[in-house]
Structures are given as C-alpha cells and as structure tokens.
C-alpha cells in the first residue's frame, strides 16, 4: 500500500441510507433512499479492516449478545469496485460501512470549514502519583451495536460513539411492531453523535451543565450539522424541491431528524421536529411561528436546543427565499406564482443548486462560529455573537445579508445576549482588544494604573510564536527588577517552563522521527529540527502540514509557552482587560497555582484556523483559550464559609458541589500577532453573580429530577450525553 500513497487515487465511494429505513420504506421516498458518500482518498489513505483508519475505528462487538461481528475490509474488491456493500439492514458489515462513511463525511465537513484537522478530546487520567495526564486519542471508537435500548450517545470518557438497537413497540408508527430498529442506520443519528464528539474535542467544557443553554447548544449544533449535511446530497435535495415546489418551509423529510428512532418510540413524528408540527385539530402540518415566550419557557437541553435549531433554520429560509425570488419571477413571467402541476425540471435544478449553496454556507458559518465562543459557560447569546463575528471577520461586507438574516431569526425567537442593549450586528460583534481597553478605561473602575500597551502585548505574542527561545531568554535575563521575595518564585517558574518545554519539544522531535521513518516524507524531516530549532521556530505553522499527533503535541507545547507568558505578565490591568483574575486576594475557592500563589490559569488550547476570505485571500489566525476554575457549593452559607477559609495548599482538594468556570478566547492574527477579538465569558471567576446563577440553574435542574436519591450532580460531564436520553424529569419539587 505505502508506495501507492503518493499517487493519485480516486475517492472512496460508499453507499449509505440517506433516510432511516423506516422512511425509506415509504414508497414515496424511494428515489432518495440511498446516497453515495464520496470520501477523498487522502483523507483516510490507510483505512483498512474494521473499518479502521486515521480518525475512526469501528468496533462491532455486541456484548449483550456475546457476539463479535465480522469486520468489513474496506479494501476488498467487493467494497472498492462496487461503491461499498449493497445497503442492507440484515448485514452488520453494511452497518459498519455506514457508520464509517457518515462519520468520516462529517469529519471532512468540519475540516473544510475550520481549515485544520479534527482532533478528538484527549483522555485525561491520573497516573500513579496522582498527576493528571493527557493522552492523545487518535481514533474515535464507534460501536454500532453496543446497547440494547432505544438510545445512542457519545461517551466522552471512552471517546466512543455507542449505538443501540431495540424492538419496535406496539405503539410504533414507523417500523412494524416487533421488528428491530438499529439507531446506527440513521444518517441523522450518526452525524448527530459524531458532531458531539467533534465539538467535545474543540470544547470539552461544553458538556458541563453550567447554564440552561450549554447542553442545548451541544444538541442543537449536532442537529444543525445533521440537517444541513442532508442538503449536500443532490438526489435527496431535488426530490424534496420537487415535492415542496421549491418552498422548503413546507413539510419535508429533510427537516425531520431521526425518523425511525422517533417513530418507533411512539411519538408519531421525528425526535426533534423544529420546522413545525401537526395541528391536532385539523391534522394539517403547520410551520412553527417564532415565539420568544416558548424559548423563555423551554426547559432541558432538547427543548432549548430545538429553539436554536429553529432559529438557524429560519435564517437559512430567509436567505434561500431572497436568493430564489428572481428564479420564481423568471419562471412565472414576473408574477412570482408558479402555475399548478409539476415544477419545471430546469427550475428544480436551479433551486436545488441555490438551496445547496445556502445550506453549505449556513452550516459553515455555524461550524466556524465554534472558534469564536468563550471556552466555558457559553450561552445561545454568545453563540449568536460568535456567528456574527466569525462571518464578519471573514467577509467584512455582508453582501447577501447573511448576518442580517441570522440576527433577525435569532431576535424573532428571543435569543439575544443578556448584556447587549442594542441588537445590531455592530453591537454584537465581539470587541477588539483596543475597543475592550477603551471600555475598560471608560468604565470608571479600571484597576491598575495607566493603559495596557496593546503594541507591547502584540510584540510579546509575536516573539513567543516566532521564537520561543528568545522569549525565555528575555524573561530570564530581562532588565525587569523583581522584589527580593519574588525572586525565588520567578526562578522556580522559569525552571519549570524550561523543563516543560524541553520535554514537549523532545516529544515533537521523536514523533517527527517516527513519521519520517514511516513515510519517507521529506517535509517531515526530523533532522531539520534540532532541539534549538524547535525552540526557535513557529511550530504552529509547521504543525499544520504534519500529522495529527504532531499537531496535538505542538499545540500542547504552545499551551505551555502561553501559560508561561501570561503567568509572567500578570499585571492587574492586563488581567482585567482579558477577564482573567491573577489577584492573590481572590476568593480562596478560586483554584490556585502554588508556583505563584495566585489564581491559576489553564491554557486550554492553542490552535490555528485557516479560511479563504472575501477576495480569495487565505486568512490565518491562532485561537487561544484560557480558563479559570472555582469550587462552587449548593449551599450559599457553605460557599461563604469556604470563601473565608485560609489559603492553604491542602484546601485545594476540598470537596465541592460543582465547578464554576470562567474564561476567555482570543483570536490572534497569524501574520501581525494582533489580538483581533477578545471573547470573554459573561462573568469572571471571582464574580459571585455568575456563581449564583450557575448554582440556581443546577438546583433548578435538580428539582426536576424524578429521583429521591438524586445527589445533585447534573454538572458531571462524563455522562452528559447518556443522561440526556436516559433520565426523565418531573416538576413541583423542592429545589
């Protein structure tokens, strides 16, 4: 195989069900039942038996039945020359093919939108000494037959997608009662769960139940991608355009997610039907009108999430309608009203092309926005700001009105950030560094003296990125005077940084060496990178052309560098500007670094994003995420008690009820090292209002649990996605 790798290879084509077999069985949908997914060969050149490749491994064990199903050989002639196995629910190997193809296709969509490789969340565990260790996870595991229940979820601890199968009950309106329903044959369910895994890789803290929106965002985002991905199949789209005569706001199967799942559960329609619902009186299907009250009253991730999906879909329809209005006029001699009967085939093709393009753009905006959110405690309002800013920075002129459409749709549903009084696109863009600094100074309670020297920040960042070694030297031997009592701490800090960095660069060089031996890849030449070279070049730029593991290591290396820079630069005014607290007097429940005695800072990620902008120019930026954490308690009295405790190292391990986090994302222009945008979570870590809000949310959620032994731990992220589907809640309880 290996010598073929560099040659041109045609894409891997694999057939899958576009719709759940239950919908597929309906005669009316037969034309759009099966689609072929085309995966670029280079995306997963080494994919083999399993299927097991660069990103995924399908492991088809069925422990409830004590069975191991024969793994599919992706490179067998039968698969390779035949667009994969024939779609057939009775063959588990087809199930393996389908989960692999659909999940890989989702990975491809994300890589295209984000301009970098997809990384799964690392495994975090404790070693023998109790230190926390991150382990790189190359492949997400997919278990198509893991469970025997009507459930499918992403397990963040195992970095795995688990799909269940179950027998359809008597109440089923989809699959006939008694027949087996496989959740892994649902295109929507597979995409949905894969998106959970990808988003968890970008933002592991989004699985924490910090506010009423955050888990809803996970759900909604997964649904949005699942929905719009369907628009990329021309077979499906043309069929739907013909059926709805171009009016996509009418009922169509594109808009219903997970039919089989939902129908078999006896609910009569799809699990999350956000386009509209059947009027119980007339039996007619009616589109949903936006209702902020509905959003206000929505409880639980699925209900709140479906509002967000509805808002995004509304934005899509607005844009689509504006773009096809001329086509309708042309086709109707100016009246805009089509005559009765079948829609003209040419018009159908043109409308499909427009719909596909709109859908693609909307989906990319939604995905890209995930780089523009605060790293923790994100709300729907933050997400709207992220959408607008991400699109604005790439396309400063909103020629086709995408941003206006998003703003209009979100406002119609009442989704707006709490602290923004004027809902205009301009007001909702995240601030630039200098805007934020002006606001800080003008706010009247700026801490520290003078202004933050934005250009100095820029220079330091630049030096850090371009030549980390120089940065270290500067810190060690710089002309800054330290107080005598500060000196030993400084030295300790610098020593730690040097050690950490040496270790990180060693790992990188070792992995580069492996790569070279394996690939005979001249670009990966490890010899080019001596120890000093690693420390004096911008590895982020190199990393993005290398394999995923190296990129992961490089990102870790920069995390350490940045941590060091920021911890060293902790002036109160800069900290205040970026929303980070370095005050030794901060409440003792705020997690401390005992190297510095100040609140600790976690540099959560450093990654690079590449996009093609307005004039076809390549736009690159670094995304840096910072997080701070504090121990939270359900009982305000206990919180007060803990907040008055003496600051001692052993107190760091005290029990707590929940973690309260705050954080900041900055976007750094990769060519100028300007901090372009400053994206802070609503409340900083020392802020008791933010803490109280999270407490109230968690207690409210606890009160809805229908369980007398409930211990209030809804904030645990290990089971976040399991519980969403497993437990019910009830009203009226104390909380």
């Amino acid at each position: 195989m290996s010598q073929l790798k560099t040659e041109f290879r045609p894409p891997r084509r694999l057939r899958v069900f576009a719709f759940d077999p239950s919908t597929g069985r309906q005669f009316a949908n037969r034309d759009a039942r099966i689609v072929t997914i085309s995966l670029p060969y280079e995306l997963d050149a080494d994919a083999d038996v399993g299927p097991r490749g660069e990103y995924l491994e399908v492991i088809d064990v069925d422990p409830a039945s004590d069975a191991y199903y024969v793994p599919l050989d992706l490179n067998s002639d039968q698969v390779r020359f035949n667009d994969g196995l024939e779609p057939s629910p009775e063959n588990p190997q087809f199930h393996q093919q389908m989960v692999y193809a659909v999940a890989m296709n989702t990975v491809a969509v994300f890589e295209e939108a984000l301009g970098r490789v997809v990384q799964w969340a690392p495994k975090i565990s404790q070693d023998d000494q109790g230190n926390w260790v991150d382990t790189y996870i190359q492949r997400l595991r997919i278990f198509p037959h893991a469970l025997r229940e009507a459930n499918a979820f992403y397990n963040p601890k195992k970095k795995a997608l688990l799909f269940g199968y179950f027998d359809a009950p008597e109440t089923s309106t989809g699959a006939p009662a008694g027949t087996t329903v496989f959740t892994c044959l649902s295109h929507d369910v597979i995409v949905h769960e894969t998106v959970h895994a990808i988003l968890d890789g970008m933002h592991p803290h989004f699985a924490e139940n910090a506010n009423p929106d955050i888990r809803g965002l996970h759900e909604a985002f997964a649904d949005i991608v699942a929905l719009f991905q369907m628009f990329s199949y021309p077979e499906v789209l043309m069929d739907q355009i013909a059926k709805t005569r171009g009016n996509l706001s009418r009922q169509n199967i594109l808009g219903e997610l997970a039919q089989e799942f939902g129908k078999a559960l006896g609910r009569g329609h799809a699990l999350r039907n956000f386009l509209g619902s059947e009027n119980p009186e007339t039996g007619d299907w009616e589109p949903l009108t936006p209702d902020p009250q509905k959003f206000y009253n929505a409880k639980g991730p699925h209900d709140r999430g479906s509002v967000l999906v509805a808002a995004v879909f509304r934005a899509f329809l607005t844009i689509y309608k504006a773009r096809v209005a001329d086509l309708f006029r042309i086709a109707s001699n100016g009246s805009g009203k089509l005559r009765e009967g079948e829609i003209d085939p040419d018009l159908k093709r043109r409308l499909s092309a427009e719909a596909a393009q709109c859908a693609r753009r909307v989906m990319r905006i939604c995905i890209r926005a995930m780089d523009y959110t605060p790293p923790v405690n994100v709300t729907f309002g933050d997400y709207l700001r992220a959408i607008l800013t991400a699109d604005h920075d790439l396309f400063p002129e909103d020629k086709q009105g995408y941003r206006d459409a998003f703003l209009e749709a979100f406002s119609a549903w009442g989704i707006l950030p709490r602290d923004v009084n004027v809902p205009s696109v301009g007001a909702l863009l995240w601030p630039t560094l200098s805007q934020a600094e002006q606001d800080r100074l003008a706010s009247g309670h700026a801490s520290g003296e003078g202004t933050v020297d934005v250009s100095k920040v820029r220079a330091h960042l630049g030096m850090l990125m371009e030549n980390p070694n120089l940065m270290l030297q500067e810190m060690k031997f710089g002309d800054r005077q330290f107080k005598a009592d500060e000196l030993p701490r400084r030295i300790k800090l610098i020593e730690k940084a040097e050690n950490d960095l040496k270790e990180a660069s060693l790992l990188i060089r070792r992995e580069l060496g492996h790569l070279e031996a394996e690939r005979h890849d001249t670009k990966a030449s490890a010899t080019r990178f001596s120890k000093t070279e690693v420390l004096s070049s911008n590895m982020l730029e190199i990393g993005s052309t290398k394999d995923r593991h190296i990129e992961y290591l490089i990102s870790n290396y920069y995390k350490q560098l940045l941590w060091f820079l920021l911890t060293n630069e902790q002036t109160s005014r800069f900290a205040q500007l970026i929303g980070i607290n370095f005050d030794p007097e901060a409440p003792p429940t705020v997690r401390r670094s005992f190297n510095t005695g100040c609140p600790s800072l976690h540099v959560h990620s450093v990654r690079i994003a590449k996009r093609v902008g307005q004039r076809g120019a390549l736009d690159r930026e670094y995304i840096v995420e910072l997080i701070q954490t504090r121990r939270g308690y359900y009982d305000p009295d206990q919180q007060e008690y803990e907040d008055q405790m003496e600051l001692r190292e052993e107190n760091e391990d005290r029990a707590f009820d929940f973690k309260y986090r705050a954080g900041t994302t900055f976007l750094v222009d990769a060519s100028t090292y300007n901090i372009r945008r400053l994206i802070r979570s609503s409340y900083p870590v020392h802020c008791n209002t933010g803490l109280a809000l999270q407490r109230a949310h968690l207690l409210g959620d606890a009160a809805r649990q229908n369980n007398a032994f409930f211990d209030g731990s809804t904030s645990d992220s290990d089971t976040a996605f399991t519980d969403l589907h497993r437990f019910e809640t009830a009203q009226d309880s104390f909380g």
């Binding site: 038996v49 399993g50 097991r52 491994e57 492991i59 064990v61 422990p63 409830a64 039945s65 004590d66 069975a67 191991y68 199903y69 024969v70 793994p71 050989d73 009775e90 063959n91 588990p92 495994k123 565990s125 893991a146 469970l147 025997r148 229940e149 009507a150 601890k157 195992k158 795995a160 688990l162 269940g164 199968y165 179950f166 359809a168 009950p169 008597e170 109440t171 089923s172 009662a177 008694g178 559960l265 006896g266 359900y634 606890a702 009160a703 649990q705 229908n706 369980n707 007398a708 032994f709 409930f710 211990d711 209030g712 399991t722 497993r726 437990f727 009830a730 009226d732 104390f734 909380g735």
Partner: protein, 542 residues
C-alpha cells in the same frame, strides 16, 4: 421500666431511633376507665448499618417497646415493604424473633398488598419482573472478567437498591432464592445465576411470590385490613369517636404507580417489549442469553464466536479480519471497552422501581376529633402519590371532607421518605396538587410540628451520600414549623468541619422565634429525648 402512660387528651407520638428508618408508636388513652393505652405501631425498620447508637438496632428497640407497652399492639400499620420500614418484622420461619413476643390485634396494609385484588396482583407481577431483571443485571455485572470489569459505582448503586427491596444485595443470591421459592433445583455446572433466571422466568410464578418479608407478620395478626384511598374514615371501637383514620393513598391508578412492564406481552410472538419501559432492552437480552433463542439480531455467518474465531466458512479469512478484535479491542485500552455499558440501564430501572414501591405507601391522615387536628403519615410516598390526593374525599356526618380540608388542619407531619427530594412537594395554597403549603392553615398554623426519621449523620456521611433530608426541604420545614422539627439524628460540624452527632434540634433563630417564645417553651415541654426514642405529646386542643 415504666409502662407508657397515654395522655388524657390527644396522643403520645414516639419516633424510635434505631437508625435511618421509620418506627413510630402512637399511644392513645382509651375512653372510660381503662388504664391500658391503645397502641398503634407504624412501620419498624432501618437501613442496614445506619445505627443511631452502636449495636442498638430494631431488636433492642423492640425488646424495650414490649416492656413499655405490655406486649400488645392494637394496630400495626406497614406503609410499604422497604428494608427501612420493615426490617424489624419477623420472617416466616423465625420463632425467636423479638417481635414474635408481641400480640397483634389488627394489621393494616395498602390495597396493593391484597392478594384478592386484580390490579394489585398485576402490579406485583411487574414488580417481580423488574426485580428479576435487576438481580440478573447485578449478577452479570459482577461476573464480568477483571479486564472488562464494570464501573463500581453502578454495582454499588444496584446493591443499595437490591438491599432496600430484598434485604439482600447480591444478585446471584436473590436469583437463587427466587428459584428456591419457585421450586426449581439448579444444576451444579454452568452459570447458576443464568439458570435461576431462566427457571424463574419460565416458572410463571410471578411477583406475588417474591414478597416474603411480611409473611411472618401476616401470620401473627388476628385481622388484616387492606386500605384504599377514600375508604372510611375508619373508626376503632376501642377509641370510640375520639379518632378517625383517613386513607389518602396509594392511588388506584396504574399510571401513577408503575411504568410499563419490561417483560414482553405474551400475545405477541416476537416482542414487542414495552418501549419507554426502562430495562426493556435488558430483559430482552437476558431472555435471549438464558434461553434457547439466538441473542443476536444477525445471522450466525456474520459472527465470531470469540475474538479469535471467525465464523465457519470464513476460516480462510484475511489475517487482518481474523486478528482484528484481539489486536484492536482486547489488547487496546481497557478503559475504552464497552463490556458493561449495555447494563447501565439497570441504574435507571433500580431508581424507578424504588420510586414505584415508595408510591405504594399507605398514606394515613389521623384526625383527633375534638380539636379536629390531623396527623399525616405518608410512608415514603413520592410525587406520584401526592398528586393523587387532591381528588380524594370522604363523607363525615353527611358532609364532604376533602384531603385539602384535612391537610389544612394538619399539625403533625411525619415527613415523607426521610425528607428526600420529591417526597414533600412544594407549591402554594392554590396549587392543583397537595403540597406543604396546604398544611396547617388558619388557627392550626401555629401548631405545626414535623418529624423526620433520618439519621442525617449517616445519610450525609455515606460513601455516596443520600441527601436525606434535602436542605431545601429541611429549611422549608423549619420555617413552617418555627423550628419545631425533630430528626432521628442531627448533623452538625465541629470547628474542623468534621461531622458530629446531635440528638436535639437547634432553635433556628432564622425561623422568627427565640428560646423565650411561648410556642418554643411549650414544644420543649412536650418533647422527651433519650437514646431509644423521641416523643412528642400532641394535645387534642388548640
């Protein structure tokens, strides 16, 4: 030892304190000249290991109770069959049990225990099936090889619940006992848990036979009464018209009492399992594993029998196919295996089963007719039961009395389910469902007292704590009762934040009273504390 003297007016309420669990003795003075009080025992049990005083469990409490009462109980009420309510009662073949020395006149049980009641029998069948599946889930989880070992939290949770239901925490033991009850003997070889499951499953004896705990007690009572909501109000000859008993629950409503049966309906040839019924998948898998049917939905030609053995006819299979599982799964990261994930549903099922049994609690309102005050004993009734009370009413002297009327006069509340979440509902006077705000209205408002049978020190100190009582409920009760809240054990913290035991309530000044308040002084006068019990005298006078 002095015998209990019942107060001239009203009732003496003793909350015994063996540990975390319910044991209440109500003593009324009989009208006329008799000096022997009328004794009513409501539940007697504790969670294993939850002692309030070391080595002093229900046996010691019962010995003392016998001396104090003279050994005759006029009525024994069992609210529901959970360990922490019935562990003090004897099994069928236990002649030396201290309770055996009592004489029991009447036994009152909820209608759900009535062997003549069709709905009750159906509910017990469903209960039995769920229990069977839970025991089997525990058995499966504990039989996994070390490399595939399941999360210990899940196993421990299941053990906790199995013990509450059966007084025994090992799934395989429970299965074995069930098989014994069903009269089947197990082979020596093979997995005896799976054999037992298959035997019990096919034996067609269902739920009713699994409930054995009360057989001993049933045999002792001269008379058994099964109570339904709206029955009565009951009067007892020995008490004349001084006291009336109003059954509030359990509701006669299948939907409020249980979720669907995880077992398939028999008239269908191949399923379907009741969906939404948590545990349906478990049951299906267990049945397939233990029966002759094929457990997998796929034909044998698609399956390996072990990680190394491809199906017949595939022996020529590519090396990569043949070694796939041993290479990438069995020798991969053990933390990422999924051997036990399909059993996770058992936790949801255990929680639900527990709530369902709690909701079969016999709920009694007891009225002192002169002052018309009402005592409310809810067992462990949860939200499902509470929501049904609004529709219950009685006719007394030609007048309709609703549950809301009675709760408005409620001045003594035995707090449901040890003060847990979901067993005391929140709301307002206008809420459509019964809740704490409905209790003690108008002239009764200043007399409200609550008792919580919880060993808070133990419950909060457990490895996985039970919030019994839940803080929000405890606070609401302290406010409503103006500090007059009695617990089995209080929890306090010393300066080093270590929990310490406390036997008496704190006067909480945030409830608006001081130690010199008349109501507090009166309360203190009427309560008595010692290591066996707390007593409170509820006078039949406002």
């Amino acid at each position: 030892m002095t015998k209990i003297k019942a107060p001239r007016s009203g009732v003496s309420i003793r909350m015994y304190r063996p540990g975390h669990g319910d044991c209440f003795l109500l003593s009324f003075k009989k009208p006329g000249r008799s000096t022997v009080p009328f004794h009513m025992l409501i539940d007697c049990g504790m969670k294993k290991g939850s002692h309030a005083v070391e080595d002093r469990g229900t046996d010691a409490i019962l010995e003392e109770m016998r001396e104090h009462t003279g050994g005759k109980l006029d009525v024994v009420v069992v609210t529901h069959e959970h360990e922490d309510h019935v562990s003090g009662f004897p099994k069928l073949d236990d002649p030396l049990h201290p309770f055996k020395k009592f004489e029991v006149e009447e036994l009152w049980l909820a209608w759900t225990e009535d062997p003549e009641d069709d709905l009750a029998n159906e509910l017990r069948d469903i209960y039995g099936d769920k229990l069977l599946a839970l025991a089997m889930a525990h058995h499966q989880l504990t039989s996994l090889p070390a490399a595939a070992a399941a999360d210990t939290t899940l196993i421990e949770t299941l053990e906790e619940f199995l013990e509450l239901e059966m007084g025994e925490k090992t799934g395989s033991e429970i299965l074995k006992n069930m098989a014994k009850t069903a009269g089947v003997s197990l082979r020596r070889s093979g997995d005896r848990g799976e054999q037992a499951f298959a035997a019990v499953f096919s034996a067609k004896i269902r739920g009713k036979r699994y409930k054995q705990k009360l057989q001993g007690l049933r045999g002792m009572a001269k008379k058994i009464k099964f109570l339904s909501p709206g029955d009565g109000p009951l009067e007892i000859e020995a008490l004349g018209d001084k006291v009336r008993f109003y059954p509030f629950g359990p509701p006669r409503d299948r939907k409020l009492l249980t979720s669907l049966n995880p077992r398939r309906k028999e008239e269908f040839h191949a399923g379907p399992y009741a969906m939404g019924g948590v545990g349906a998948g478990l049951f299906a898998a267990f049945e397939a594993r233990t029966g002759d049917a094929d457990a997998s939905p796929f034909d044998p030609r698609f399956r390996f029998t072990s990680p190394e053995e491809p199906p017949e006819g595939e022996t020529e299979a590519d090396e990569k196919v043949r070694t796939f599982y041993s290479l990438h799964y069995d020798n991969g990261d053990p933390d990422r295996r999924i051997d036990a994930d399909w059993l996770d549903d058992a936790e949801g099922m255990a929680l639900r089963l527990n709530s369902e049994v709690n909701n079969t609690s016999l709920v009694l309102g007891i009225e002192l007719t002169k002052s018309r005050q009402v005592m409310l004993f809810t067992g462990d009734a949860q939200a499902g039961s509470w929501r049904s009370w609004a529709d219950v009413s009685w006719t007394v002297d030609g007048q309709t009395v609703t549950a809301k009327d009675l709760l408005g006069r409620c001045t003594f509340y035995k707090v449901g389910h040890h003060g847990s979440h979901n067993a005391t509902l929140n709301g307002t006077l206008d809420s459509p469902h019964a809740n704490l705000s409905w209790m003690a209205q108008n002239e009764y408002a200043d007399h409200f007292v609550a008792m919580i049978p919880t060993n808070k020190v133990w419950a909060y100190g457990k490895k996985r704590p039970w919030r019994h009582p839940m803080k929000a409920i405890e606070d609401a009760l302290f406010l409503k009762a103006k500090s007059r809240v009695i617990m089995t054990r209080y929890l306090d913290k010393d300066d080093n934040d270590e929990p310490i035991r406390k036997d008496k309530p704190d006067l909480r000044t945030d409830t608006g009273i001081t130690s010199s308040s008349a109501s507090w002084k009166q309360f203190v006068k009427r309560t008595d504390y010692n290591e066996s019990y707390v007593s409170y005298w509820l006078e039949d006078k406002l």
